[in-house]
Each structure stands twice: as C-alpha cells, then as structure tokens.
Symmetry: C2
C-alpha cells in the first residue's frame, strides 16, 4: 500500500473502478479515504511497501500482495514466480532478508490441475532462487465465473538488516537517484502477450528476486535513504511517492534511463509511456551522492544490476515534484499515474 | 492448510472442483499431491493451521487465509470480521498471541465503495476486539465478471506462549476432548441466508476471536496437547485430522455435543449433518484428563465458552478413527468430509 498525493476526492465515484487497482492516484485515494482511517495505526500510516515491527530487539518486516496478473503465463515468468518475487522484493526494499512466505490460492472451479501444478512448481523454484521457504498456505475455490483461473496471495516476513533505516520519507537534497536497469519490461511483456502483438525482439518480463542485489548494495554501505521497486504505476509513480513523502524535488535525466528497444517499440504501438509501465525486477535507490559511484559499480557486478545507472538527483526546489530533462534540454513534469494505464499487470 | 487422510488419488479429476476448497478430502489431496511436494519443507509438512518459526529465542506463528464467503454480509458478521477472526483464531490455535495482521483485497470492478467502507470498518472493530493491528495491506481490482464483489486475504504473525507445545499430532490415549460450545452456527447462518430460508429463531454466525478464550485456558495450564477451530469441514473433519495425525482413536458422546435448536432445524431442512458444518468461533482442545474439569470451568466463565463441555475421549484403539455413541447406545463411524458440503462458507 503506497501512494499519497491525490487531489481527486473519492466521492467522484461510488463504485470500484479498474483504476483503483492501478497503483496510481485512484489507488492512493482508496487507501487515504477508506483503509487508513479504518485501520488507523502508525505502521500503516508510514505508507511503505512493508510494515516494520520491533520484536525481541530485532526489526521484523511484514508485507502482503495479491496477484491477479493476466495472462497467467507470460514470457519470463508466470503468476507463481511473480507472486514470490513480488513479496520478496517488498521485503528487500525495506532492507529485510526474507525469513518465510505464506501463500493463499483462490482457484476458479474448472481450473486445470496441470496448470496449478506448473504454477506451484514455478513458485517453488522462485522461492529457492530467493533463498526463502513457503511455510504455510491456504486454498479456496470459487464457482466458475466468480474468478479468473487463479489468484495468489503471498505474504512475507523478513528481518531488517542492522544499521539500515530506509523510508520513502528519507530522501534529501543532494542525494543521487539510482536505477538498477531498463524500465518497462514486465508491463510491456504482459501487454504484448495479452494483445497478441507480434513485435520484433521478444520482450521478456524482468520478474526477479531483488534481495541479492540489495545485499550487493549493503556490502558497499547501509547508508541508503530509500529503496523501492517500481511496479504498478512504473518509475514515475514510485519517484512521485518518494518526492511527496520526503517533501523534495527529483530531477531526472531522460537519456540516463535505459529502455530496451523492444519495449520502446511496444510502447509506441500501444501509446504508453515507459515511465508508467510496471517493472518486477528493478529497484530505485536514493543514496547520499558520495556513495553513488561505489553502489553503481557494485550493482553492475550483479547480474540483475548490469545496466545500473545514476538517473537523477534530489533537489530542495519544487517539493513533491518530479521533473525530467530531455536530450534537447527541455524540462517536463513527470506526474503520478492517474487512473488505470494497465490493469492486472501483477 | 490441514488435512491428511485421503485415499482418492487426484488423478480422479484433471480440473479444480468446488470440493477442493471444502476443507475435506479433496482439499487434503490438493495439499498432498501438489503443494507439499512443490514447497517441500518441514514446517509446511507439519500440517498445522500455522507455521512456527524460531526467531531470536522466541517462537513466531505465521498463518494465512483467503476469504470468499457468500453472501458478504450475514447475521452475526461479514467477510471483514470473518477475515480478522479467522486469522486471529489460526494463531490462537497454535497458542500464539497475535502480533500483527496484513490484509489484501481483490475487488471486482463496480463493487460499491459504501460496502467496501462498511467491510473495512468491520475489520477494524474485529481487530480492536482481538487486540491486534492491521499494519500492512494491498488492493487489486479485477474486471467485472472476474471476481465476486470482494475477496479478502488476512495473514497474521503471533508469538507462541512459553511452555506451550500444541500439535494435532500430540493427542494421547486417555486425553479428554473439550468443545467450547454449540456447533454449526456459522455454516447454518450462511446457508439459510444464501438460500433465503425463513426459519424460526434466527441463526447467527458464531464468528468471534478465540484468543481471549485461549488465554483463559492457559491460565489453568499450558499442558494442552492440541487445539483447533473446527471451520471448513466442521467438527468431524477437525477430529479426523487429529486422530490421523496422532494415530489415536477418538470416541464422542453424541448428547454431550451442543447444537442450537435453530441450527438443528436448518440442518434437517437442508439435509446437513451439524458435525460437518463450519464454525468460526468455536474451539476443540485435547487435554490430559486431569486438567479437563479445571479447563471446562475456566472456559465457562468466558463469554465464548459458556457451553464448554467434555464431548469425548482419546483412545488407543482404532487409530485414525473417530466414532460416536448415540443416546441409544449405538456407535457409528464419523468420517472425514468427502467432497463439498458447503462451498464458500468462509
């Protein structure tokens, strides 16, 4: 549950829209108008992707996500591996080593057992790769027409590394903004698959567990301000959340942000901006400028960080605003995703 | 995820049936044939309603459930309170004090915002009553026709009380079987509501948080062998699981098992056996005989245990079998629920 800046009042609609699940402005409204007031507590109000509980002198991270991705199987992954990676990554973005995962399935009557087996096996492989066990679970079945094959919840607990104190509210003017690699792969893979587009150069989802890459960063320093994986709503929404919560400006350099050729092409065909397209194996780190070089070097030595780069910086001007300088020297505002660009992307 | 004895091979069907979500034999098959082999690990293989992790010298309980109950609102509760109670109770049945809950919503496009608010408020009240906070969450939206209003996952972490060592495998011959109150209220309430039955004496769900009742038991002794809340599959399935895992027999005295008049009537009309109907605010405890009297007295002083009674005993004969003696002195075998008696009861 993330997202904060949201000018449109929820009274604008009296029923749930697809956009309420997009990770953009409508999602933030639902959180602000319904869930935060009802469940009022300081942990939830922090609006991080994970809650952190003090326990026996340690810090436990706790995070949950349900996955409704469509199609269930796609280039580079499936709903099972995505569900494991998504929750491992929410823990990792809190600086937590994953301890254990739970999983809960909502199956639609008639779903092929062979597909369920394939998904369970994929989850098991993803968990093994991330070094975490799935230790408890649940299965429910709904009637034909009341679901869409399978929906999967994964919830994770992890232990926050000592000396780490990450928060989307911790960015400071002068910090560097690091991105671990090219954006838009996951969303573009899902959408081209869904639309049956045949494009040159197959696009693969980047779905991957980021905890190893985070370990590589922490081996350089634990003085990282904030980390986020730009999933629903894409890089633009993630950076807007950080800018809003830290009350800082963020300026990006367009040409520093890698976008794979195939993704660029798919986005052109589909009329999408890669900045708003979901990633499932990328991270953004806000770090003190003096550590930026060392962190980028360490990330580039990790297979999931080969294209890591400094893509911008944090400023004291224009609090809450993300701006981007193009190759031609023009500057534009990069707003938060409004409404629903891509439903059921995760 | 519970359930173990299951003679029918899963090859009998190649697609998901409603019965796979019933908590009976088909659910157990799915677990045995798909999830246990894929996620192979010792915690999951214990087949308890919660995993217990050793952490910093303490024991953390971890449990998950998705809720797909239909209708969403019913006498005595709604999907929101049910989701909180269900997970609090799975923790409590492991002897754990709830530390924190997560929640994840899968909303169907078009779901009324007012209903969502009502459900969130109900969850908040249920959490306050149980003394636990909802600290993190997630929302996804699926297209109209791909869901059924709202599905809710709750996942909980708790701390297992010191000196407690509960397991469905710990029942021993000579132990007493204690039931906290009348059976079948939840399932009968849901089903009469769903079928639009007008019966004399309105049936209310017994949905309630059991952690307070467990505290009352532990105030007498922590030498409890096993605790379970007989939800999907009812009392019969729960006792069959315990008999199978402990490799003991269980004999019940029919007249000792309370069933409310309205529930008895509804079950007659609907052709159901209350032993297989779900409860959401009852517990079964297997305790050494010498503690039974003291525990029942303590439970009766708690509002949720007013009808607590010893309903049977554990024997060394007929391992894995649950039998019941009727008022007429006849004895019958109480088998595990086969197939699907009541879909979408929780």
């Amino acid at each position: 549950m993330t997202g904060f800046t949201c000018p449109v009042p929820i009274a604008a609609t009296d029923s749930v829209l697809l956009g309420h699940g997009s990770g953009g402005k409508l999602s933030a409204e639902l959180l602000r108008d319904i869930f935060l007031p009802a469940f009022a507590n300081p942990l939830l109000a922090r609006l991080e992707d994970q809650a952190v509980l003090e326990f026996e002198g340690a810090r436990l991270a706790f995070t949950t996500d349900s996955f409704v991705v469509k199609p269930l199987f796609f280039r580079g992954g499936d709903i099972g591996s995505l569900a494991v990676h998504g929750t491992v990554n929410d823990l990792a973005m809190g600086g937590a080593r994953p301890l254990a995962l739970s999983t809960a399935f909502i199956l639609e009557e008639g779903f092929p057992i062979a597909d369920l087996r394939r998904i369970a096996d994929s989850m098991a492989r993803a968990a093994a790769r991330a070094g975490v066990s799935i230790v408890t679970g649940d299965t429910k079945v709904v009637e034909r027409g009341c679901g869409d094959g399978v929906y999967i919840n994964t919830t994770g607990i992890g232990v926050v590394a000592e000396g780490v104190n990450l928060s989307a509210a911790h960015a400071r003017p002068g910090d560097a903004v690091i991105l671990s690699g090219a954006i838009g792969d996951h969303g573009a893979a899902i959408l081209t698959e869904r639309e049956g587009l045949e494009l040159e150069g197959a696009i693969q989802s980047d779905s991957a567990p980021l905890n190893g890459l985070v370990d590589a960063i922490f081996a350089v320093t634990r003085e990282v301000r904030a980390m986020r994986d730009p999933t629903r709503g894409g890089l633009a929404s993630t950076l807007n959340e950080i800018a809003a919560q830290s009350r800082v400006g963020i300026t990006l350099t367009e040409r520093a942000i890698p976008v794979h050729e195939g993704v660029r092409g798919a986005c052109e065909v589909l009329g999408l901006d890669p900045l708003y397209v979901a990633n499932e194996g990328k991270l953004v780190a806000i770090v003190p400028a003096e550590w930026a070089g060392g962190i980028v070097s360490a990330m580039r030595r990790h297979p999931l960080g080969a294209e890591a780069a400094v893509i911008g910086s944090v400023t004291g001007r224009d609090a809450g605003l993300v701006t981007m300088r193009s190759a031609f020297g023009t500057t534009r505002i990069v707003d938060m995703l409004a409404g629903d660009q891509l439903p059921r992307i995760c």
